[in-house]
């Protein structure tokens, strides 16, 4: 697949810290690309360069092969992490204004606004002032403002923050539908577990550097650790040089749970050993696939042995 966006060795330096230190990545066309990393890693700085809010100090960004320039603005939609609308403007006027700023004609914008308001079932809000809407309603309006001009590339910074579960699901369906129609989506978040299932590709960013990227499946395969979760009954006594017990728990009624790493051999060897010499009855046996979060931490520890996961939060 041809990349819609190529970021090449982008650097961004602020007065007293480096926000981006030679970051390169490619966003394939028509996929959902997860831009993951803790707060303060440099995600927002990168997004601001892609949206042309700021420029890079070094490196370049290509949009469909051309260096990024103002003519691309109309093809990019951006939902910032910090949401905001003009409070004293009517919803309809506001959407019209923002769409026109993106280069839509008035007539075109008007029909599109009508279509989106219908789709989200919020037609009746058009004449309301934004300040009279609830926070969740404002989020919907803001999302509409982001996608109104049918962008080829949609950048969503922490899109689910502030949505209740019902609306979050609605939004998720909407995003997947847009992907299926060919929109490329960059999905930025520090809550990695929330997007694993939606993303086709990911890039992990930590401390202004990319630490990892690729297809989600490939990344996870690369970080498989030959660890299996086993549940069953009986007394598990495992003494074998090929297998290492990472964790073992006894439960009531002679049940057990264990995580076992295969140092040498195949899963079948382990299973055969458990059934045979292990003398236990196996009820569940599955490979433990690492979560993106675990991969991230492991990857970062490899490069920075002193790494402590940041819980919160410098401003991005």
């Amino acid at each position: 697949m041809k990349p819609i966006l190529q970021v090449q060795d982008v650097r961004k330096q602020y007065a007293n810290h480096t926000a981006l230190d030679g970051v390169s990545l490619e966003v394939p066309e028509g996929s959902i690309f997860g831009l993951l990393g803790p707060n303060g890693a440099g995600k927002t700085s990168l997004i601001r360069i892609i949206t042309q809010i700021t420029g890079p100090d070094g490196g370049q960004v290509l949009f469909r092969g051309e260096p990024l320039n103002p003519s691309h603005i109309g093809q990019i939609g951006y939902l910032p992490e910090e949401r905001g609308l003009y409070k004293k403007m009517k919803v309809g006027e506001q959407l019209l204004y923002l769409a026109q700023l993106k280069g839509l004609s008035k007539a075109d914008a008007t029909t599109k606004i009508k279509r989106w308001l219908d789709r989200f079932d919020i037609k009746t809000w058009a004449d309301k002032n934004v300040e009279d809407l609830s926070k969740g309603m404002q989020q919907k309006v803001q999302f509409v403002a982001t996608v109104l001009h049918d962008p080829a590339l949609l950048i969503l910074d922490e899109p689910f923050s502030g949505f209740d579960p019902i609306n979050a699901n609605l939004l998720k369906d909407e995003i997947l539908a847009m992907r299926d129609q060919g929109t490329s989506i960059i999905f930025s978040t520090h809550r990695m577990e929330s997007v694993e299932e939606m993303c086709d590709h990911i890039a992990l960013i930590n401390r202004s550097q990319k630490v990892l990227d690729g297809r989600v499946r490939d990344v996870r395969n690369a970080y498989r650790s030959q660890t299996y979760q086993v549940e069953g009954t009986g007394k598990l006594l495992l003494i074998h040089p090929d297998f290492e017990v990472l964790e073992q728990k006894e439960r009531e009624n002679g049940h057990f749970y264990a995580r076992i790493r295969i140092v040498h051999g195949t899963p079948n060897d382990l299973l055969r050993y458990l059934i045979g010499a292990g003398q236990v009855e196996v009820q569940a046996f599955r490979e433990q696939i690492p979560s993106i979060n675990e991969i991230f931490i492991r990857r970062v520890r490899e490069t920075h042995p002193d790494y402590v996961p940041e819980t919160d939060s410098m401003p991005a």
Partner: protein, 444 residues
């Protein structure tokens, strides 16, 4: 370019539709009209003459009652006090003065009767009339008449004339001062009012976080300029509304309020009563302050087209010079309370100009300080429009001042743009001057 136009439109329309704008547009002209109309109205209202009956037992005013003066007319009543009092009760007079038989060297026993108590001014006027008559009598006794005494008094009117290469121009420093203040004050007020609106607008966008959405569509500089220009259009609309409404309202009221009309009114009423000539004459004299102002303005050799053109230029130029700086302040802070430290240096030159204007500009409009203040762009928008009505501003000074102001606002706009583009994305950070100066050199 079309995007700036969109921004200008939004800024303009949202502001012009606000209630506060409509209220301000109506209150401004009403105040102006009130300012002009109240003195005239007062003059008109005082047309309610007080009529004072005089019971002249002492024959003080034997040959002639005192002339009507200000709002007072005197009429003769019977010299018999008891009779006069009962007449007074029945009649419509405002006061009854009783003059007893008197000794000129030691006059005593004067009385004033009134229904509700006398106003101080009426009492003073009656007092003065009696005193003057006694003086007259005494003068006559000493062999001097009033006319001789009046001739001895001097009262000179000064006509001021501007002597320049183009010839002599008679001018009135009173009118010049008034025009200078009006122009200076309007510019001062508009820069402040609309400068602060720019600042608030920028802060609103920043704290709302909408700015990030908008500047992913337009350049920060376009957003700032759109705002500055949009609000300038609001300012011009307001000014135009004020002028139109003021002119409209005053013309509507002029019919009943023009000084000439008032004079005529009073003369007409006076004719119906006593001694038409004196009354009309007096009334005319009394109103001639207002008439004088009007004629002075008409006759004064103000270069009206130049003043209007320059006023509009400095109005816009001053606004642009300061406007973008206000925008930069708004971008650098998170809340209104943080604006103080940056506001002061920006507003200082403005306030200073306005404060010293009285001492320097209007008293010595072509002195060194005034000349420099009218050339340096920080102070020129106010200083120059305050100098112009006095005349005698050399063309080179005007040209230099205009050129510097244009250069000045290009520079401040550039400066503000540099600060603005960094500031609007900087949240939750208290900003110092050192920080601001670093922003100037950030790369895009």
């Amino acid at each position: 370019m079309s995007k700036i136009w969109l921004i200008v439109q939004r800024e303009y329309l949202t502001r012009v539709r606000k209630k506060s704008f409509i209220i301000m547009s109506l209150i401004g002209p009403l105040l102006t009209v009130a300012f002009i109309a109240v003195p005239v109205l007062i003059a008109k209202m005082s047309g309610d003459d007080k009529v004072v009956a005089v019971a002249d037992a002492g024959n003080l005013f034997a040959d002639k009652l005192p002339d009507a003066k200000d709002d007072i007319r005197f009429v003769r009543s019977t010299p018999d006090l008891a009779q006069a009092k009962s007449d007074f009760k029945a009649g419509k007079f405002d006061a009854l003065v009783y003059i007893p038989k008197l000794d000129l060297t030691n006059p005593t026993g004067f009385q004033v009767f009134s229904r509700k108590g006398l106003s101080v001014s009426l009492e003073n006027d009656i007092n003065r009339a009696i005193n003057q008559q006694i003086e007259n009598r005494r003068l006559a006794q000493s062999g001097i008449d009033r006319a001789t005494l009046d001739k001895l008094k001097a009262n000179v009117d000064l006509e001021t004339v501007t002597l320049s290469d183009t010839g002599e121009k008679s001018s009135s420093s009173g009118v010049s001062t008034a025009v200078a203040y009006l122009c200076g004050f309007l510019i001062y007020m508009f820069i402040f009012m609309y400068g602060v609106q720019i600042m608030r607008g920028v802060m609103e966008e920043k704290t709302n976080r909408i700015v990030e959405v908008v500047i992913s569509s337009v350049k920060p500089f376009e957003l700032m300029m759109g705002k500055v220009l949009g609000i300038a259009a609001v300012g011009f609309t307001q000014l135009a509304l004020w002028v139109l409404l003021s002119v409209g309202i005053s013309t509507a009221m002029a019919g009943s309020l023009s000084p000439e009309k008032v004079v005529q009114d009073r003369a007409d009423r006076a004719t119906a009563i006593v001694r038409p000539d004196t009354v009309k004459d007096k009334a005319a004299k009394q109103d001639n302050v207002a008439v004088k102002m009007m004629t002075a303005f008409r006759n004064s050799d103000l270069n009206v087209p130049l003043i209007v053109a320059c006023f509009l230029f400095y109005f816009l130029g001053g606004y642009l010079f300061y406007g973008s700086l206000f925008g930069a302040i708004g971008s650098a802070v998170d809340s209104e309370t943080d604006t103080q430290q940056f506001m002061l240096p920006v507003t200082m030159p403005l306030i200073l100009t306005f404060v010293v204007s009285q001492a320097i500009l209007t008293t010595n409009p072509n002195g060194t300080v005034a000349v420099w203040m009218s050339i340096i762009p920080f102070t020129s928008p106010i200083a120059m429009v305050m100098r112009l009505p006095f005349g005698g501003v050399p063309m080179w000074q005007l040209g230099l001042s205009i050129a510097l102001l244009i250069g000045g606002f290009v520079f401040t706009t550039w400066l503000a743009g540099r600060i603005y583009r960094v500031g609007i994305l900087m949240y939750g950070k208290k900003v110092s001057y050192g920080e601001l100066s670093k922003w100037l050199f950030y790369k895009g």
